[in-house]
């Protein structure tokens, strides 16, 4: 069953979007396309499609990396830097990057998902080294903190919110806030400061990035049993504005409402980005193309070893330890020509839910389970505008949030270019936050470009009445399994903890192993998995 226009808008934006004035015959932009991950090959795999390559189509290689997202490419860089050149990165899609990929139009590059990284704290040396390689770091401060070159830091004005029909600076809707509201906000900040200062007996931070460095003290891990919303209520905070800001933050970073986000993850979002109590959050590093900039660098390092358009269909390893190479089989998703690699080690840098489908005997042999790994769906739209929307109030920022909307608002791709007039590209984000995963989501995934474009424009129309006439092109990316969801209990789940461990000669690297989706986590897992492989290679 397909939803009609009204049902579609109600399903995605809520009934209030209809009230806000939904025109009878919607004007859609003259051009646009609907993109998505390569669903078809995924479905064939689910149906047991496992073509076998000819004898001649096998190659031997020391390491195969499955998946050319941030984690896979980070692993490739780590191998390369350690002098191991005999590897391939196999990527299903025609371009690398996974959920950090980007697009490009005449006017500007733009992100298709991930769009920034906060300036790393000094303890994240490997990431600082990557940023140095990119020429983003001007110098290092005495404590090892990177001083970032100005043009890569998100320029002011950074963030605004459309609240009560007006744009105001910042995310917290201050207009009309009562003294009680502001007192709760201050108390919330004090509590976050307390967590930023918190150290366990061994000196570990409660919340750090990469999350591998977080304390496992029960005082911290206990938070994983609560939802973020429950945690707020336990503190006695009831301010609707505070709850909104926290809920927005959870949806923004995790694609989950605060009611279903682990309080551990919720607090991580706020506390891990403070260097010291009382600090502002770490500034953001961003580019027009978002984290696609990092991907382009990593992909260039991998060079011809990165093989795009290669769908891995099967990974087989001998039952007894040490018995022969691991076989990685795959097809070209278009021609369906099969080929294979015999490797001494494999780094599986695709999400865990695919491991059960691709790694032969994964569940039987290792008794591993992955059903705790839940992924959220996202829609991301890129709108090309011939001119800026007419508006009043606080001026256009990098991040523009519409209070009360189920979308996350939009980021301006041309912000860093310094062009403050004329044509621009907006990247609009929508996490699918409904609890029911298999009901309405399936229907939304069947929606057409016109359905979704109308939803995007209806959402933006609330703040920009002229958006329809300004949009010359609207492209949409539908991410089915976009992002791992840090629900209650997932951080401390035994499944998650076991998933990072190697299975024989297969090593795992993906952001989902951390339970939260961040470039830093993907990068960390990629480096870690490569180090495991390097250690084993040097032992043998």
């Amino acid at each position: 069953m397909r939803l009609n226009r009204r049902e579609m808008i109600v399903a995605m934006l809520g009934a209030q979007a209809l009230l806000a004035g939904c025109s009878a015959s919607p004007q859609l932009p003259p051009a646009g396309e609907l993109f998505g991950q390569s669903f078809e090959i995924g479905h064939r795999l689910r149906d047991g499609f496992r073509p076998q390559p000819d004898q001649s189509a096998w190659r031997e290689v020391q390491v195969v990396i499955v998946g050319g997202g941030a984690a896979g490419l980070a692993a490739a860089r780590q191998l390369h830097q350690a002098g191991c050149a005999d590897f391939v990165v196999l990527e299903l899609e025609p371009v690398a990057g996974g959920t950090s990929r980007s697009g490009q139009c005449d006017l500007s590059a733009y992100p298709w998902a991930a769009h920034y990284v906060p300036v790393p704290l000094p303890h994240n040396q490997p990431l600082i080294a990557l940023l140095q390689e990119l020429g983003v770091v001007e110098s290092l401060a005495d404590d090892g903190s990177p001083v970032i070159r100005e043009e890569f830091l998100c320029r002011e004005p950074e963030e605004r919110v459309f609240f009560q029909k007006e744009w105001i600076e910042g995310l917290y809707p201050v207009t009309g806030a009562s003294p009680e509201d502001l007192a709760e906000l201050a108390a919330f900040r004090r509590e976050i400061d307390r967590w930023a200062a918190w150290r366990d007996a061994a000196g570990h931070r409660a919340f750090a990035i990469p999350t591998r460095l977080c304390s496992d003290d029960p005082e911290v891990t206990r938070l994983d049993q609560l939802s973020m919303a429950e945690w707020l209520r336990q503190q006695g905070w009831t301010s609707a504005r505070l709850h909104w800001v926290v809920d927005y933050s959870c949806r923004d970073d995790y694609g989950l409402p605060a009611e279903r986000t682990s309080a551990w993850a919720g607090l991580l979002y706020f506390a891990a980005r403070l260097k010291m109590p009382g600090d502002e959050h770490q500034p953001f590093i961003t580019w027009p193309e978002g984290n696609g900039h990092l991907i382009a660098h990593l992909a260039a390092l991998a060079g011809p070893r990165l093989q795009t358009g290669f769908a891995v269909t099967q990974i087989r390893q001998a039952a007894k330890p040490g018995g022969g190479p691991v076989e990685v089989l795959g097809v070209n998703p278009v021609s369906l020509a099969a080929s294979g690699f015999k490797a001494r080690h494999v780094i599986f840098a695709a999400p865990q839910f695919l491991a059960t489908r691709l790694v032969e005997g994964f569940s039987n042999r290792t008794a591993r389970k992955v059903d705790d790994f839940q992924y959220g769906s996202w829609f991301v739209a890129n709108l090309q505008l011939r001119d800026r929307p007419r508006e009043s109030g606080f001026p256009l920022c990098w991040d523009n949030v519409i209070h009360g909307s189920r979308s996350l608002g939009y980021v301006v791709a041309t912000h860093q270019s310094g062009r403050d007039h004329g044509p621009t590209v907006l990247t609009w984000y929508y996490p699918f936050c409904e609890a029911d995963i298999h009901g309405i989501r399936e229907q939304l995934l069947q929606a057409t470009w016109a359905d979704l474009a109308d939803v995007v424009l209806t959402d933006l129309e609330a703040a920009h009445p002229d958006i329809r006439s300004l949009t010359t092109r609207l492209d949409i990316f539908r991410w089915g399994h976009a992002m791992i969801q840090p629900r209650q209990g997932f951080h401390t789940s035994s499944q998650r903890l076991a998933a990072s461990l190697p299975d024989g000669r297969i090593h795992f690297a993906n952001t989902d192993l951390s339970g939260i989706a961040l470039f830093e986590e993907a990068f960390d897992h990629g480096c870690r998995a490569a180090d495991e492989v390097l250690a084993q290679l040097s032992n043998s």
């Binding site: 100005e150 043009e151 320029r155 002011e156 500034p283 001119d387 001026p395 062009r419 403050d420």
Partner: protein, 508 residues
């Protein structure tokens, strides 16, 4: 006709009289807002309006008795449309029409004519029901009462609360209401034929005016010129800004988005001080870059230097760099500087342009607007100044207009500190420009800036403000302009925009 409708008819007289006077006051106020010289304007408008009313009264006798009711209603609807839309129409037309005066006086006359028709028609309608003395005395009583009512309401309530545009639309709705009401009240005088159409038209007029009333916000933003104070000579909106030229007794002024950019009376002080210090130290400067300054006045000063072979001007707004074509006094004032063969004009955001080009210059004159918005604040950032360094020959000098160090000391010294942070040697200086007050500039270079400056010989006797002595005295800062501490202005902090906002906010 029984007593109740009679009373209602008097009420109509009151409404009609009030609205009639309001239109007259509106036209007078608008004319003096937009054209200046309120004594002349008011006296002209009143005279014209009254004479038009007289003409209307005279014409009223041409209406035959059987058509009285219908004609009265038609007149009401016409007054509603013309009078109701008078203020918004005049505001909109002002910046777009060469013949604004013709439109203004034409409209005043037309409204006066229609208003002049109203009472005579009404009196003839009432004639059969009252004896003559009673009729005249009562109608005139309500008429004059309405005038008093309007003259009090207009300055005390309508203009301050509603503004001109809304007031005019509201009166239009009242007139149309009288018309619609008339179709019931005067029912005995009307034929059934066409009654429905008449009512429909009345409703349409009310609907139009009401829609405009709802949209009035966007119309009234155009009325903000009133706030500038001086009569407006020329106004236009470009995609980037609102350009308004005004005049007073001694000269004309350019305002961008309501901020004064120069006054022709003393702009020579501002521009001589902006240009000559930088050009007198680089000897002999051949290529000069101007950032901002689309009015061409800085270029006029630059072209006085005989060594200059090439001037490149980068200004965001083509509307500014071609303004002289549409406003001849500016062409004269700038001595057609932007049309000089040595000058190349580029329309682009300087921030984008400076990172895209790689030619180097002997001197750079920076004449951006004050850093009142983030979009302009970025042009005073460490990032921008670093990019600027890559456009400088080794000996090059840069001069920058830096707002008032007296009004906004932190803003001023923030710019100095920002330049120093990227390695510039900076010499602060100031000049008195009466239209602006005490104004601040800096001279910056990658090498120490010479202590003693001399104007090139060709400028001797040419300038109205600077002499060698004055030039060097600009660098002496009085104690009330002494340095204060401020943060560096970076793209990701935009400290300067926040300082500027606080300091000028407190001053106003």
């Amino acid at each position: 006709m029984n007593r109740a409708p009679l009373l209602l008819l008097y009420l109509n007289v009151l409404v009609i009289a009030t609205c009639g006077l309001v239109y007259e006051l509106l036209a007078g106020t608008l004319a003096s807002y937009l054209l200046g010289d309120s004594v002349t304007q008011f006296s002209l408008i009143i005279g014209l309006y009254l004479s038009a009313m007289g003409a209307g009264a005279w014409l009223s006798r041409l209406v035959p008795d059987p058509r009285l009711g219908r004609c009265f209603i038609e007149v009401e609807l016409a007054v509603a449309l013309l009078g109701g839309f008078s203020a918004p129409l005049l505001f909109l037309a002002f910046s777009r029409l060469e013949v604004f005066g013709v439109l203004l006086y034409g409209m005043v006359f037309a409204i006066g004519l229609l208003v002049g028709l109203e009472l005579p028609l009404l009196m003839r309608i009432l004639k059969g029901h009252l004896d003559f003395e009673d009729l005249v005395s009562r109608v005139l009583t309500f008429d004059y009462a309405g005038a008093l009512f309007a003259s009090l309401l207009f300055p005390l309530l309508l203009v301050p609360r509603l503004g001109l545009v809304r007031t005019s639309l509201l009166c239009g709705i009242l007139n149309a209401g009288v018309g619609l009401w008339g179709t019931t009240l005067l029912r005995p005088l009307l034929t059934t034929r066409g009654l429905g159409g008449l009512r429909g038209r009345a409703c349409l007029v009310i609907g139009l005016l009401a829609a405009a009333l709802i949209k009035a916000d966007s119309l009234t933003s155009l009325a903000e010129e009133g706030a500038i104070g001086h009569p407006i000579l020329h106004a236009e909106s470009t995609p980037y800004q609102r350009i308004v030229l005004t005049k007073n007794e001694r000269g004309f002024q350019l305002h961008l988005n309501g901020h004064l950019q120069f006054n022709s009376v003393d702009e020579h002080r501002y521009h001589e001080a902006l240009v000559h210090p930088a050009l007198s130290t680089v000897r002999p400067p051949q290529s000069v870059l101007v950032l901002g300054g689309g009015d061409g006045l800085a270029v006029r000063e630059i072209l006085r230097h005989r060594s200059v072979k090439k001037v490149t001007l980068v200004d965001l707004d083509p509307g500014m760099t071609t303004l002289a074509d549409r406003f001849p006094p500016l062409e004269q004032l700038s001595r057609s500087a932007l049309k000089d063969p040595r000058v190349t004009v580029i329309n682009d955001d300087a921030f984008v342009w400076i990172s895209g080009d790689d030619t180097r210059f002997d001197a750079v004159i920076i004449d951006f607007p004050d850093p009142g918005t983030f979009a302009i604040g970025k042009l005073y950032s460490t990032r921008f100044y670093r990019l600027l360094q890559q456009r400088l020959r080794p000996d090059a000098l840069v001069s920058i207009q830096c707002t008032s160090p007296l009004v906004a000391p932190r803003s001023y010294w923030c710019i100095v500190k920002t330049l120093e942070a990227v390695g510039f040697h900076v010499r602060p200086y100031h000049a008195a420009v009466p239209s602006f007050g005490e104004w601040g500039y800096v001279l910056a270079a990658m090498k120490p800036v010479p202590q003693r400056l001399t104007l090139p010989p060709e400028l001797a006797g040419e300038l109205r403000f600077l002499t060698d002595g004055i030039l060097n005295s600009l660098f002496e800062l009085p104690p009330d302009l002494k340095r204060v501490d401020a943060d560096i202005n970076q793209l990701n902090s935009q400290a300067l925009v926040r300082y500027y906002d606080q300091e000028w906010g407190a001053w106003k």
